[in-house]
């Protein structure tokens, strides 16, 4: 028997397990998945919990339900990968040998990495919405908020779902308007980036949407520490931003076992070939989804598009053939902008998010970098697609590679 071991049964790991189980012979291949938790969380839904749009239990399902028959799911925490010995060691002492390893343990928020973030104010006046419990605690604080300064903040990039903090700012503006208290809330968006977003065209468009909503932008703000008593963010260049309510995106890092195993970069992401996802250090190790150091967004759409390509490549690879398909960094993300509207961005390694439209038979077209209600409904409908089509590995009529159809090229090369 040949042994494929997948670490992590989140979005990427589950998709890969489903796709490969259908394509690899059961008499020749054993597929095993390890995960430390028995719940699968629909993470895009966390954004909606603080505003009461989703109830906390609407984004959780049992993990086992999405693992196909013929794949063994081992509950357990990973201690380390002994890559030289082709073995994974679990915290409880079990050893799992593999022929091929797929690392899909994602990225996690690390509030412990910013002095002053954890402590008595954590989940009271200092919040985050990147965990289920954080989103639920924030819903409570938002409900009780009587006005003052709300600071939406990013510690450092890269982060999972890089548009999420912008969406949070837009939705906060709409939320306080709806409650008739927008004039009592000052909203500040503090980011280590030089503008609202990374790439110039999207940054300009999203920046002007912050302006329209009277959300102040504090750019090039790299936080050094938080003073929880004075309720102030302090940057490395000694700027201060006071807050009454802080919604931060803590530092994002890959799992600690990746560092312990000597497989990661400075943020515990696995360096891989950006076209094939194969580890740059070991020929039989791949990393997919947020766990990899790909120079594109950390997002479910990237996991999805790269999983399609990875599956085909992997089948060729284990048959001794060259991997001919190349992942192009394709990502697309809906951006909620409030009042039942949203935008869509679609991009890859080489093409930044551009305005235009995104054609899709029957339900499209969606608006690229422009607001409309169809984008909002697209985002909400995606939850059903995630559970019923994406995770089980059923085809979704979206091309793996980015297409220029409908996109408006910039007048001059940037």
């Amino acid at each position: 028997m040949r042994r494929l071991l997948i670490l992590g049964a989140g979005t990427a790991g589950t998709m890969v397990a489903n796709r490969l189980r259908r394509r690899l012979s059961r008499s020749e291949w054993q597929i095993t998945v390890v995960d430390q938790s028995d719940q699968h969380l629909y993470q895009p839904g966390f954004l909606f919990i603080p505003f009461g749009t989703y109830a906390p239990d609407e984004v959780v399902k049992p993990r086992r339900r999405f693992i196909p028959r013929g794949v063994e799911l081992i509950p357990g925490k990973i201690e380390r990968v002994d890559a030289a010995a082709n073995t994974v060691v679990l915290v409880d002492g079990r050893h799992l040998a593999y022929d091929y390893l797929v690392i899909a343990t994602g990225t996690h928020t690390r509030p412990d990495q910013t002095p002053g973030m954890l402590g008595p104010e954590w989940h009271r006046s200092i919040h985050e919405f990147y965990t289920h419990s954080g989103a639920v605690a924030l819903a409570e604080s938002l409900k009780e908020f009587r006005g003052g300064r709300l600071v939406v903040h990013i510690v450092d990039t890269p982060i999972k779902c890089p548009v999420a903090p912008l969406e949070f700012a837009f939705l906060s503006d709409a939320y306080f308007r709806r409650r008739g208290m927008r004039d009592q809330v000052e909203i500040v968006y503090a980011t280590p980036l030089p503008g609202a977003f990374t790439k110039p065209i999207a940054s300009e468009r999203l920046g002007s949407m912050l302006d329209d909503r009277k959300i102040a932008l504090a750019s090039d703000f790299l936080v050094e520490r938080i003073d929880p008593d004075a309720k102030t963010l302090i940057s490395y260049d000694e700027r201060e931003i006071p807050f009454d309510l802080l919604v931060t995106v803590p530092l994002n890092m890959g799992a600690d076992y990746i560092a312990t195993s000597g497989l990661g970069n400075e943020l515990n992401y696995v360096p891989v070939d950006k076209h094939t996802l194969r580890s740059r250090a070991y020929d039989n190790i791949f990393a997919i989804g947020d766990a990899a150091d790909l120079p594109t967004s950390k997002a479910g759409s990237v996991a999805h598009f790269s999983a399609d390509m990875f599956t085909r490549n992997f089948l060729r690879y284990v048959a001794g053939k060259p991997m001919t398909e190349k992942f192009d960094g394709h990502a697309n993300c809906f951006i909620e902008s409030g009042d039942g509207k949203g935008l869509l961005i679609d991009f890859n390694y080489d093409t930044e998010p551009l305005p235009g439209h995104y054609p899709l038979p029957a339900v499209g077209p969606f608006g690229l970098l422009r607001e409309n209600s169809r984008n909002h409904w697209g985002k909400l409908a995606f939850r059903w697609m995630y559970w019923h089509l994406l995770l089980p590995g059923h085809p979704i009529p979206l091309p793996d590679h980015m297409s220029m159809t409908g996109k408006q090229r910039p007048a001059k090369e940037r």
């Binding site: 890269p158 977003f197 090039d220 790299l222 490395y236 260049d237 120079p295 967004s297 998010p353």
Partner: protein
């Protein structure tokens, strides 16, 4: 691709003035580039610059502030003192490397 003359030498640059040819850079050019943004290079600056050069050679990408802090052992606070306001951008400029791009 544009060329410009720095210290009497023609070099290739992008629209923002970042060098585009890894091989056109040397210590002397670094001093000139630093002077253009008002920085006089000390040993502490060189430690960061040489780390960036070497890291780019093996990784093919300009190191982030966090990478410089973690792997070269230079505290972030010190980088802000050495290269005020925008250390990532200024270090890359002086080291003759592409402007660091935050991932989308």
């Amino acid at each position: 691709m544009a060329t410009t003359t720095i210290g009497g030498r023609a070099v290739h640059v992008d629209p923002e003035g970042f060098l585009t040819e890894y091989g056109e850079w040397d210590d002397d050019l670094a001093r000139q580039l630093a002077a253009q943004i008002g920085i006089e290079l000390t040993d502490a600056h060189w430690k960061a610059i040489h780390f960036l050069r070497e890291d780019y050679r093996t990784q093919g990408e300009t190191a982030t502030i966090r990478r410089v802090t973690t792997l070269a052992g230079i505290p972030t606070k010190e980088l802000f003192t050495l290269f005020p306001k925008k250390p990532a951008k200024k270090m890359a400029y002086i080291a003759g490397l592409p402007k660091p791009h935050g991932c989308v």
